[in-house]
Structure formats: structure tokens, C-alpha cells
């Protein structure tokens, strides 16, 4: 019995010794790291208004009502599709982070060479939490990036929407291009106009009863990663 008590005492002493030794040899430093990211978010604001024009004057030529032009914000299912197809989104961009932005849709019907429409009262607003810089790209109907053909000292840019080498539409220098490189701080917005025209001087490119479509993609990059 005495021998047994000695064993118990010895084992207990050993455990205490080991525990003490471990307590001396180990230490823990805990690093608590918390990163709260901001977000980049831009959206269209305003109430788009379409105004028919001719020679810088309101209304169609000779006051006629032949064509029509409308501009409105519409909900779209896959708002990033055009930009993604064109390879314009950053490589690490995560589609699931897309915001439910609306699309600005401009529709011209029964158009003819010389017809002109101006869309105004539209803004791009930074509704995110960090500054953004805007990049503007024009895509043709197949979502390929196209380089507009500047004319008249850059006042006009002709656009070939169907890739046939012939330009069917033009936009003036105030359209979209003023947004390029613009930096918007959170809460700030920038207005822009869109002046579209079917150029009479390119009427050989404009076919009757034909629909021409192109896209303008505005990408808001975090300001310090603007390409």
C-alpha cells in the first residue's frame, strides 16, 4: 500500500512538473486582423430627355414630325454582358458582385440621313465609398470595341456599328467622351449629353429600313487602378 502511494505521488509530481514546464515554454500571441473593404458603385441618375434637333436648332428639319427619339432607363438582366464580352472588365472582377444598375436605352425610329437627337439630363454618380475614375468605351453591335473616327478637329466622331467599314452614325464631342478619365468622389456626379446624328455626308453608308445598334460602356475603376 505504501509502495502504491509512492507511485501515485511520483506520477502526480511528474505531471505537475511537466505542466509547469509547458507553461514556461509556450506562449501565444493572437493577431486579430479585420479588413473592411469599401465598394465601387456607380449609377445613372437624372431623368433622360430626348430632344430632336437640326443644325443646332430644336425640332426636325422644317418642323416635321418624321422620326422619333426616346431615352429611358431600363432594367436589364445581365448589365455587364456587353463589357464582359468585350473583355473590358478587370481579370479579377467577380460577376456576382454586380450591382443592379439600370441601362440607358436610346431608341431612334424611322430615321433618315440628317436626323439628329440630343439626350440630356443624365448623370453618372458615384454611389460607392471610394473615389472612382471613369473609362468610356464604345462597342459595336457584336460587343467589339470600336475606335470612333474623329472628324472636324474631334468635334464629331463617326461610328461604324456593323463593322462593314462604313460609318453610319456620329456622336459629337460632348457625348460620353467628357466622362473619360473623370474622377468622382463618393457622392459626386457628372452630367453628360449624347448628341447622335445620321450623317448626311455619310449617307452612302446608311441603308433604308435597317437597325443600327451600338453600346457605350462606362466603367468606374477605383481611382488608383485606372488603366
Amino acid at each position: 500500500m505504501k509502495k502504491y502511494q509512492m507511485y501515485v505521488f511520483a506520477v502526480a509530481t511528474l505531471l505537475v512538473a511537466v505542466a509547469t514546464a509547458f507553461a514556461l515554454w509556450a506562449d501565444v500571441l493572437k493577431i486579430h486582423l479585420e479588413v473592411n473593404t469599401g465598394n465601387v458603385d456607380i449609377e445613372f441618375t437624372g431623368v433622360p430627355r430626348a430632344i430632336e434637333m437640326h443644325d443646332s436648332l430644336p425640332g426636325e428639319y422644317e418642323g416635321k414630325d418624321v422620326a422619333s427619339c426616346t431615352a429611358e432607363f431600363t432594367e436589364v438582366q445581365d448589365e455587364e454582358a456587353a463589357a464582359a464580352d468585350a473583355g473590358l472588365l478587370p481579370p479579377s472582377w467577380n460577376p456576382s458582385s454586380a450591382n443592379a444598375d439600370v441601362e440607358l436605352r436610346i431608341v431612334i425610329t424611322n430615321a433618315y440621313p440628317g436626323y439628329q437627337c440630343k439626350i440630356q439630363d443624365v448623370n453618372v454618380k458615384n454611389v460607392g465609398t471610394i473615389p472612382v475614375k471613369l473609362l468610356v468605351k464604345i462597342l459595336d453591335q457584336n460587343h467589339n470595341v470600336i475606335r470612333p473616327e474623329p472628324q472636324f478637329g474631334g468635334f464629331l466622331s463617326y461610328i461604324d456599328t456593323d463593322g462593314d467599314g462604313c460609318t453610319e452614325l456620329d456622336v459629337d464631342s460632348s457625348s460620353f467622351f467628357t466622362l473619360n478619365g473623370t474622377q468622382l468622389h463618393p457622392g459626386e456626379s457628372q452630367s453628360f449629353t449624347v448628341v447622335l446624328r445620321l450623317p448626311t455626308e455619310r449617307q452612302q453608308c446608311i441603308a433604308e429600313q435597317t437597325t443600327y445598334t451600338f453600346y457605350v460602356v462606362i466603367i468606374g475603376y477605383q481611382w488608383n487602378e485606372f488603366p
Partner: protein
């Protein structure tokens, strides 16, 4: 320490990667322009000549927005005569048009008036007169082309 450092670095990298993945947003504007049509249709072609026995043959052909009308005048006995051919066109396109007409002949005279019509709105009609004067058989060719009213 080493495992903890590794975990901390991994967390930092993940946080940076997540941040980079979120740092862009796009807005799209879709612009669609559908063009109208320019078109004309020859509704009627009537003729009036000085002599009732004069034979007039009118042959219209259409290519795109242009009518080419051959008018053959054959007065009796190779005599002289003057005829007026009235060509009535309808705007069958979707935008207002003007019709430009030219005329030519190898003999005699051939004149179209007006050479340029006024504006013809969608669905409306306009008449172009072609005056022909010749001795013996002659052929006048009138060409009418529709163009947008603003050109």
C-alpha cells in the same frame, strides 16, 4: 508563431484579393437607330397629244428609288405633234420625299416639269408633266428619283 504568421498573411492576401475583385462597376448605354424608307410608286401615266391619231407608248421600269420611263411618240404619217405625259407618283416610303426628274431625247424636244417636286409626304401623290414635241417618231426618256426631303 510561424503558423499564426502564415494564417495572418493568408488572411491579408484574401482580403486584398477580395477587394481587388470588387473594385469596378459598369454602366451601359444601348443605342438603337432604325432607319426609315424612301420609296415611290408610279400610280398613273396618262397622255394628251395634239393629234388623236398619234401613238404614244409608255414603258416604265423601276430600280431602287428611280423610275426610268421611256415614252415613244409616233405621229401619223411622220408628221409633227406635241404630247404631254402626266406621271403621277405616290410616296410609298416612310419619310417625306422630293422627286427629281430629268429628261432626254435623241430628236425633237423633251422637257419635264417640275424637275424637282415639292415635298411629298407619306401616302401623298404628286404629278410630273413631260412635254414632248417631235416630227416623226421619237423617244423621250424621263428619269424620276425620290430623295429625302431634306437633301
Amino acid at each position: 508563431m510561424k503558423p499564426l504568421t502564415t494564417i495572418a498573411i493568408a488572411m491579408l492576401i484574401t482580403a486584398i484579393a477580395t477587394t481587388a475583385a470588387l473594385m469596378a462597376d459598369t454602366l451601359t448605354t444601348k443605342i438603337t437607330a432604325k432607319t426609315g424608307t424612301i420609296d415611290l410608286n408610279l400610280q398613273t401615266a396618262t397622255r394628251t397629244c395634239g393629234k388623236g391619231a398619234t401613238t404614244v407608248t409608255i414603258t416604265p421600269t423601276k430600280t431602287d428609288n428611280t423610275y426610268t420611263i421611256q415614252i415613244n411618240v409616233n405621229p401619223p404619217g411622220a408628221s409633227s405633234d406635241s404630247c404631254t405625259v402626266q406621271l403621277t407618283y405616290k410616296n410609298t416610303g416612310t419619310i417625306p420625299i422630293k422627286i427629281y426628274t430629268t429628261s432626254s431625247t435623241s430628236s425633237g424636244t423633251c422637257t419635264a416639269t417640275p424637275t424637282t417636286t415639292g415635298q411629298i409626304h407619306r401616302g401623298d401623290t404628286e404629278t410630273v408633266n413631260v412635254y414632248i414635241s417631235c416630227t416623226g417618231s421619237c423617244t423621250c426618256t424621263a428619269t424620276s428619283t425620290a430623295k429625302s426631303w431634306n437633301q
